[in-house]
Structure formats: C-alpha cells, structure tokens
Amino acid sequence: MKYPDNIESAIKNFCARKRAAVKTTTELDRRIIDEALLAQEKWKKTQSAATQPNIWRIIMKSPITKLATAAVIAVLVFGGISFWPSGSSGNGQWWLGPSAVWGQEIIDSLEKIEALVYRQRSVSVRDFGPIQMSRGWEKRYNAKDRYRRDRYDDGKNIMNIQWVIPDGTDLLMVEVSLEYECYFERRNEAYGFIPSPVEEMRRYVGLLDKADRILGTKEFDGQKCIGFEVSASKYGDNPDGRFDRIWFDLKTKLPVRIERHGLRYSFDAGRSLTIIHDQFEYYAKVPVDLFKPQIPEGFIKAHPDEIRAAKDKEKKGEMVYAGVSAGLKDEIIAALKKVETASYHDVASRICFSKNAWRKDYFSDEQLQRNEWYIFDTEGMSETGFEIDEKVPGLTQINVYHMNNTYQVLSYTADSQPRHPMNRILFLAGLIDRADRVLENEKIEGIECLGFEISAKKYGDNPDHMKHRLWFDVKTKLPVRMEFQSLHDNVLRTEIKNHFKWNPELPTDTFISKIPKNFNLVESNGK
C-alpha cells in the first residue's frame, strides 16, 4: 500500500482522531479548576489591596485616571516595565514620564469602552504634486462583538453599509450596496471583519516604547494633542516608508487620531495612501437599531463586484491579458520614481516639469503661441511632503497668450487641480501588468525599446476602442514614447508623447512665469 500522496490531509485526519479521543477526567477538571480559581482569588485580592488611598492620591492626577482600575496600581507596586526614556512628568508633560504608568492608564481606560464611533478617511500622497484628502469617507460604529460601517463614497450620501453581528456561535456579515442595489452575506469572521479599533489602540500604546520620535503637540478638532511616530516595521513585516502616528489628547490621554502612512496603491503607482481614523466618540450611546441589517426592498442578492464586473463585461466586452510580470512593472515604476525633472513633446506643446511645477509651451509653425505655468504653493509644506494639517497646497496656473498680448491667472484648490504630468505617466506605467499585448521590441529615437498595448477599458468606464501604447527604454526602463489612440466620429486619432528627456538640467528660471510688460490681464478667476 502506497501511503496517501496527500500527507498533509493524512496527518490532519490523524490529529483529528487523536484529538477526538482525548478527554479530561473529572478528577483532573476538579484539580485544575480549584487551583485556577484559587489563583484568581489571590490575584483579585492583590488588586484590591493595591488600591490604598495614598497611592490613589499619588496617581490620581487626571480625570481619566479615575477610570483606571487596580491594574495601574499593580504596575506601580510591583515595579512594572519602564519602557520609556527617562523624563519629567512634573511639568504637566505626562508623556515624558514612564509610559508604564500612563500607557497602562490609557489601556485601562480603553478597556472600559463598550462602543466606539469614529471616522475613517484617506489621503492620497502623490510623488509629484500635493496630497489630496479623499472625497469619500467612512463612519464606523464598533462595539465589542459587532460593528457597522457606513461608506460615504461621494462625501455626502451613504453608498454602502456593512454590518457584522453575532449569529448563533458564528458571525454574520451583511453588506448592502446602495450604488449597485444589491446585498450579500458572509458567515465567516475573517471576511470583512475590521480589527477592533480599541485593540488597535492598545497595540499602539504597547508600541510606544519603540516610537521613533515624539511629534510634539498639535491641535486637532480643538483638542490639543501629543503625537508619536512608530515605524511599521517595528510590529510587522512592513516595507520601508510605512509608519504610523498616534495622537493623544493632552487632557484625557485618549487617542484622538491615528494615521497609517505609506500604504501603497495596487492600482495607481504614483500614489501612496494614508488612512486616518479620527473623531473618536468614546463611551458612545449607539442606538440598537443601527446594528440591525436592513436590506431595501427589491435589492438583489449579489456582491457589488459581480454587478460591476457584469456591467463592465456588457459594456466593454472580454478583457485580454498578456501576462506581463509585476516584477517588470516594479522595475519601471522604480526607475520613474527616481525622476526629478523631465521634458517631452505632446501633441501641440513642449512640456517640462519638476516635482512642484510644470510648464507647457504651445507652438504653431514653430512660433510660440502660449505659455502655461503650473506652480504648487508649497510654502509651509514639510520636507516629507506630508504633515497632516488637512491644508492642501493650492495650485496657480498662469497662461500667457502671445497672439493677443493677454495673460490669465487661475487658482485651484485641491479638489479641482489639473494633474501633474508625471502622475499621468506613473499611472499609465502602473498599468503594464494589465497589458493586452506585448509589442515587439523596436528602436525608437535610436533607443532599443520594449512596448505594451493596454486597452483603456482596463480602468474607469472607458470604452473598448481606446488604447494606450507605451514604449520603455530596455536599459533605463524609462518611457521613450507614449501613444493614446481613440475613435472620434469614426476617425482614428492618435496622440503622441515623445522626445522624452529624463532628469535634464533645466534652466533655473524655467518655472518662473514671465509676463511681458504690455500684456493685459483677462478672466483671472479662482477655481
């Protein structure tokens, strides 16, 4: 008899049978329970003995301490773990004192929380150009054994609701998509179950001894806070550039804001994501009805992704994939991310850019028609490009029309800004692992290139007939030519970007707008 090929399954069966055969005896149960209960009683007595009035007076400095239970005192009495650099707590700066004390206070306070309501938002951090707060956000209602999440994708209306509630010995997840008029259920704790925010907070407090730096004090929603920054590699297998920040209210010592920085977008290579949890409502009174799944009449039972995929298929047809490796895409993205400056030709203009500005010069018959400067107002932005102020820098566009001696100044807020050209390039390069086909290697502008054709239907709501063709230098992995083909009134149009120069030394005044003296200002509206 050959032993079963699936050794894993055989061992699993063996273990299951063994496990089923093992039972504790009554005698053993009695012995263990008696001694465990005795140990528990001793522990309780120790806890209660520790609550002596003089110790209370020593540590009862803030109202939140009143919530802290005997565990705090146990830490004081028995020494505990001093995991914070020495410092004074006598000047009101409690965070400089031993975090074994105040960290435990926070943890104890968190343990008393029955329900927690908070907001989740995300911030796009672009390699080129400003950060951008997402329009959509979520409101989350977390209790010890259930939660509800309302997603406001358009910033105003609930588009998707998810509930996770106990159901017998299991957990039931119900999600309703108001956008696709459907709902679905899963009976699996792992599916869609967001980690308990209180547990997350506890984890962060436990990590404070490993904090990379204290961020200083800052005000959020009228609450003065002290912040800590911890590299995400300190608690998991996270890549470089991932870090978290947690901000505590100076008065209550409770977390006010948690930021997770440097999360990569799987889709848009030019962006990273920061997730922010804030507007915490501790000890929230949550109406019980809020946790009862409600499925609107007429909604069909299906996952929103299925409906979306079916709609896409109906509109766009089948998708074809050439199987380009993600590794090659990563090489290309890595090369692009090293770019500081560039210049290239577009359909009717010559474009050049740096990190914080770009410029377009339009020509007709080699005669300059128009200059456009786009300049980010980066004043006040930190070197890291992201101190969460929710103050997104604006963009100013200056157009100079040489044909009629006029100029125009346009100001944009974060919501309406034109995209930095490099963001577009990065976005397209990030699509190559979705390419429909790989083009044969060819020489373009004297450079050996590898090329890809990507249907624009692979993203957004684009129709079948739009195509991108991208060619990259085999050696440097940087773009050499980019084409966009579309159909207009049955006429095939191709827009070309070419003559790329990567990291050229641009004249120092490239991004300083020049308005000739006699030119008149026209239609300078803010946007």
Partner: protein, 194 residues
Amino acid sequence: MTIVSFETDLADSGMLEDKLLVWKFKRGSADALQRIYEKYKNDLLALAIALSRDRATAEDVLHDVFVSFAQYADKLQLRTSLKSYLSCCIANRVRNMNRTKPQRTMQLNHTGTIGSDCDGPERLAISAEQSERIEKAMTELPYQQQEVIILHLQSGMRFKAIAESQGVSINTIQSRYRYGLDKLSSLLNSEVEK
C-alpha cells in the same frame, strides 16, 4: 430610544463569545474562567499529549497553564484568538519542560484509543495501524518540526500566529512545516514499500 447593552444581549442569547469571556475574565469573573476551561480543556489536553507524548506530563502542563492564566489575568493581551493564545501557552510550557527534563519515550498506551464509534472493525484496524505508523514517524522528526505540524494541523493555528508566539519569522515556521511533512512522507512511504 433603546441603547445597546452588549453584555446582556450576549448573555441572553446564550452565546459566550471569546472576546466577552476574556473581557469578563479580566475583570475577575470566576464563571468566565470556568467557561474558558470547559470550552478548551479537551483540545488543549490533546495538544499537550501530542507535544509531550505523555498523558501525565500533559495533565501537568494543562494544570500549570490554567493556574498561570488565572494568576496573570491583568497581563493578558490577546493578539490572536483565545484558543491560539492558550495553545501557544501549552506549546511554550511543553518546550520549557523539554529543556529541563530528559526526553521521554513515546507512551502510546496513554494517548487513548483512536477511532470513532462509526468506524467498522476493519477500518478501525487500518486506522489504528496507520495512526501508530504516523505517531512513530512523528517521533523521528526534530521537535521544532513536530511542534509546528501539530500546532497547525491539530490546533488549527495559523503560521503567522505560531511565528509570533515563537519570535521567529513566518518563513522559518513554514520551512519547518514543509521539511517536517517531507520527512514524514519519506518515512511513511519508505516504511510501507519495504
């Protein structure tokens, strides 16, 4: 307007979910401690037997783990499920015992009869024979490999949780698991082909 009373809701519905049990236990609930013991005692004893290969040792391990669990309720910080946490405690305790005591020899007689009531006599005999062979093959493995196989396949622990509990990388744990299975496969097949 009704306000949710989570504790009452759960108690009324008869569902003592682990998180609530832990919450009560950390506040000194004797009921919660007993319930946790009742819920996991057999699985944990089976795990201790599988790791120590001795019922008497396994009973001591279970005893020590629960007494210690009760003693340090305030220090309990769950990052995995309660069952995984307790399984880790069992594994750690057995490992510590292995360090301080000489290796025991396998005592098959103490591990209990293998086979369920619905198995017929012939199948039961085959199962018993297979089980004996697997058990014997398991003893040939280095302890670290046995441990990860048992924790994963018997206790259902994820590799990540095992790695975290032992302070090693998940790759190390997965390698131990794979090497262990390969060796088991080789041992069992070479034995039947003789």
